[in-house]
Amino acid sequence: MQKYFFILISLFFFTQDLLAQGKVKVYDDYEAFKDLLQTESDSTYVINFWATWCKPCVAELPYFEDLHDHFQHEKVKVILVSLDFKRKIETKLKPFIKKNSLKSEVVVMADPKMNDWIGQVDDDWSGTIPATLVFNKAYYSFTEGEFDSADQLKDLVKQFLN
């Protein structure tokens, strides 16, 4: 009896945990995260590093959201990699996603070993955000800093579609 009780309790906490995470996947480890930065498919990926506390990042999020409509007939996938702190996921990040009705997939990169993984994303990245990686299976580009306009980002993505 005690055993079942124990299983029930752990099941309860497990489900709570899943619910709490919602749709935002959290990566604690770069080893798991780095699969997002590679592809063998025909899609083009736009990976934007941002955080709710980063003003210029938030200002350019609409550029990334625009890509969904603009490239709706193309294979373009946008992933917004949030660098928000784990304890702010529920209080800051999720309300932000809801309030702005973000269409892009949002994941959280929470590996604290920044000195180890920043250079692996791109050698040239000093670690400032926003930063954006665009790639397909053959090409990639890395941008540190914000884009001047939505069109500048679109033009960059377009280069990958030919």
Binding site: M114, V134, Y139, Y140, E146, Q152
Partner: protein, 224 residues
């Protein structure tokens, strides 16, 4: 002759590196002294520090959460190492017109709140931050007694939680200098807020696509 000049200038175009990171100091470069206004209303230059054996030049600011997380650790570092000849010199590299939380008045407020024991300087015109190549806050440049940069990067390996620190990069670098050694690592990377200036948009952007080396991203690179 004209043709030669033409080709010479052409080759110069190619040899000259593209505006990659806006320049700035690398490890091994000698820094130029500066004169900036401190939160107490006095101008400060590195030459004012008569007993210094080096400087922990720290680009930091009010608004950036990563800067805020390091305030207490910077205070501790200064209290420990200023008496040994390595004071912290904090510089706010941001343009307050772009980020009003980093105005001179707000700096004074924050310095009082936290009772900063070190100088907290306003980089008017963003000249010193540009000269150093400060890209973000916080961004540390450890300088030795010859004013040569010996370490660039982060304070430690755990911005988010001081209790989780395993590598004290900056402190190790100071100790290395005290022992007459070169810091290792001499460069580290960390997430930070970009320096706010009026022309920061698209700065350093690599807009051209490059051929992808498929294995490149999976190789574990060294920390530089």
């Amino acid at each position: 002759m004209k043709l030669i000049i033409f080709f010479l200038s052409l080759s110069f175009l190619f040899i000259n590196p593209l505006p990659n990171d806006g320049g700035g100091y690398n490890v091994g470069d000698k820094v130029e002294d500066f004169k900036l206004m401190n939160v107490d209303g006095e101008y400060v230059s590195l030459a004012n520090y008569k007993d210094a054996k080096g400087f922990v030049i720290t680009f930091t600011c009010n608004h950036c959460p990563y800067s805020v997380m390091y305030e207490d650790r910077l205070i501790e570092l200064h209290k420990k190492y200023a008496p040994q000849g390595y004071p912290v010199v904090a510089i706010n590299p941001n343009d307050p017109e772009v980020q009003p939380m980093d105005s001179y008045d707000e700096m004074i407020v924050r310095a009082k709140e936290k009772a900063f024991p070190f100088a907290y300087l306003m980089d008017e015109g963003q000249k010193v931050g540009t000269a150093f190549g400060a890209k973000k806050t916080p961004h540390i440049f450890l300088v030795d007694s010859d004013m040569v940069v010996q370490y660039i990067g982060a304070i430690d390996d755990s911005a988010r939680d001081a209790r989780e620190v395993k590598e004290r990069y900056l402190e190790n670098a100071i100790v290395a200098l005290q022992e007459g050694k070169s810091p290792d690592p001499s460069y580290t990377k960390a997430i930070g807020c970009s320096v706010k200036s009026k022309n920061s948009k698209g700065r350093g952007a690599v807009m051209k696509k490059k051929k992808r080396a498929p294995s490149e991203k999976s190789i574990i690179k060294s920390d530089h």
